[in-house]
């Protein structure tokens, strides 16, 4: 009889495969663990995917939301064209994955964070807010997002941070409106907006990643945008790639384009007119009929009770 071969399995399996198998198991376990907390991960590849378990917020308005058709087809997003129908047309192939947001300036934890981190760390809620555009029309939008203050607290701004500056992606290849044309749209790219730190920390201020229970459509500012419901729509910057904490008040895109028309605060205020539009009244998109009068615009877009204290003692005609 022959003596059984005295060979260990590890000697038969080539060492590389043997080690790889270990690594595979270790990684598979890690992915499974992460999967539990980041159930949303597969969603971030595509706009329009369902967002599960977004909590309803008590800060939502009870007003009837504008139709998804109107919210997604009537957009001011000059990066994709100046006509309101342009963004829905030109943003379809906009790549929002992979996406990351750079945190810079006066914070203890500056870094470049992958977009997935935001979904992982902050529980999402549905916030139904009124939106008032400076052009005197309005909507009611069911956003899905999380309070900006949650992120700011985690980043730990230093005592020097007084303002927060946001920047939109600059990529003329993907965003045709940013291409330098003969006359262009006349804006300085990339789009920049800003808030005072206390405004950014206000519980009503959110970063939105979804709309109507799904990931944000590209034309609405995918994958992540700001929403400040008591200010005119253009303050709520879209497709954010950078958040900077700064000492001085940022110079925003629209302030650069028309300093007499667009101020830093841009709070919705029926008593302070824009040179071209009376702000006393507004047209509610999709709701008012052709022959109905406009509705009265509310101070701070109806959020005065919550936010008026941010501006006590300020002359809102001067700080418009």
């Amino acid at each position: 009889m022959r003596k059984p071969a005295d060979i260990k399995p590890s000697e038969i399996t080539p060492k590389e495969i043997y080690l790889n198998r270990r690594r595979f198991l270790r990684e598979a376990a890690a992915v499974a663990a992460a999967g539990a907390s980041a159930a949303l991960l597969p969603c971030v590849t595509q706009a329009g995917q369902k967002i599960p378990n977004a909590r309803k917020s008590p800060l939502s308005t009870g007003e009837k939301p504008t139709s998804v058709q109107d919210i997604t087809s009537y957009n001011n997003f000059y990066e994709f064209g100046t006509d309101k129908k342009d963004p829905a047309r030109n943003a379809q192939n906009f790549r929002t994955f992979p996406w990351s947001v750079a945190i810079e300036g006066e914070v203890k934890k500056p870094a470049v964070y992958p977009f997935e981190d935001f979904l992982k760390h902050f529980p999402l809620e549905e916030r139904i807010y009124r939106l008032r555009c400076v052009e005197a029309w309005s909507m009611v939008v069911p956003w899905v997002g999380f309070p900006l203050r949650d992120l700011i607290r985690r980043l730990e701004p230093t005592s020097r941070a007084k303002y927060v500056e946001f920047t939109t992606l600059h990529d003329p290849e993907q965003m045709p409106g940013q291409k330098p044309g003969l006359f262009g749209a006349g804006l300085d790219w990339p789009y920049v907006e800003g808030l005072r730190l206390d405004e950014a920390m206000h519980p009503l201020t959110i970063l939105a990643v979804g709309l109507y229970g799904e990931m944000l459509p590209n034309q609405n500012g995918a994958p992540i945008r700001l929403v400040v419901p008591w200010k005119y729509g253009f303050k709520s910057i879209k497709s954010i790639v950078k958040i900077r904490f700064v000492e001085k008040q940022p110079l925003t895109t629209w302030m650069k384009a028309g300093p007499s028309e667009y101020g830093f605060y841009s709070n919705v205020n029926p008593t302070v007119d824009h040179p071209r539009w009376s702000q006393a009244a507004e047209r509610r998109i999709g709701e008012d009929s052709l022959f109905s009068p406009k509705r009265k615009t509310l101070m701070f877009n109806g959020y005065a009770e919550q936010v008026a204290s941010l501006y006590t003692g300020m002359d809102l005609k001067k700080f418009f």
């Binding site: 309101k84 029309w137 071209r276 009376s278 998109i285 022959f291 406009k294």
Partner: protein, 192 residues
């Protein structure tokens, strides 16, 4: 009646619910566009006639001008009725306060006497020369219309600039044509 096609399209779009999320804005912009287009067409008659020698074109000038007025009426009506709901105080405030509305409204007012004096009887009553002087107002109206559009847009001035360039060509032709046709006259008081 080709000139009524834009209106027919607008009515069709209204009936089929195809005016977009903000129908009033759409109607207002649409009618405004056609005012400018008909103004440009009206102003194009003389240069085309001179360049081609086709005098038959002159027959269409009155009609084109009247259609510019017709769409201007619709444009103003859409503003005063749909946008402002006939609240006179708001309209007056708007006209005074906002330069682009001031200019647009002034242009509209200037169109009214031109439309009223467009009949043959009125030409006879005024006399050809005075009638012609009055109707030169259309140059001012054209400029007013383009400025009205230019001041309205927020940052993308390409579209109003197109109208501006067309208008400049049409008015520029007239200056050039006049210089070409009248030899330089030495002012009588000039002694040298």
């Amino acid at each position: 009646m080709l000139a009524l096609i834009p209106l027919a399209i607008l009515i069709y779009r209204a009936l089929t619910n195809d005016l977009g999320a903000n129908p009033i804005e759409t109607i207002n912009r649409y009618t405004g566009d056609w005012v400018l287009r008909f103004l440009m067409l009206t102003l194009a008659v003389t240069p085309l006639r001179r360049l081609t020698g086709w005098n038959g074109l002159l027959r269409y000038r009155r009609m084109l001008g009247l259609f510019a007025f017709f769409y201007a009426c619709l444009h103003f009506l859409s503003y005063a009725w749909l946008d402002q709901y006939f609240v006179l105080a708001d309209i007056i405030k708007d006209v005074i306060k906002r330069p682009y509305i001031t200019v647009g409204f002034a242009s509209f007012l200037m169109l009214i006497p031109l439309a009223l004096t467009s009949t043959n009887a009125m030409i006879r009553r005024l006399g050809a020369k005075r009638w012609q002087q009055l109707h030169r107002l259309v140059y001012l109206i054209g400029i007013g219309g383009v400025v009205h559009f230019l001041w309205l847009v927020k940052s993308d001035i390409r579209e109003p600039l197109v109208y501006g360039v067309v208008l400049a060509l049409l008015l520029g032709f007239r200056l050039w044509d006049r210089r070409r046709r009248t030899p330089d006259v030495i002012p009588s008081g000039a002694v040298r």
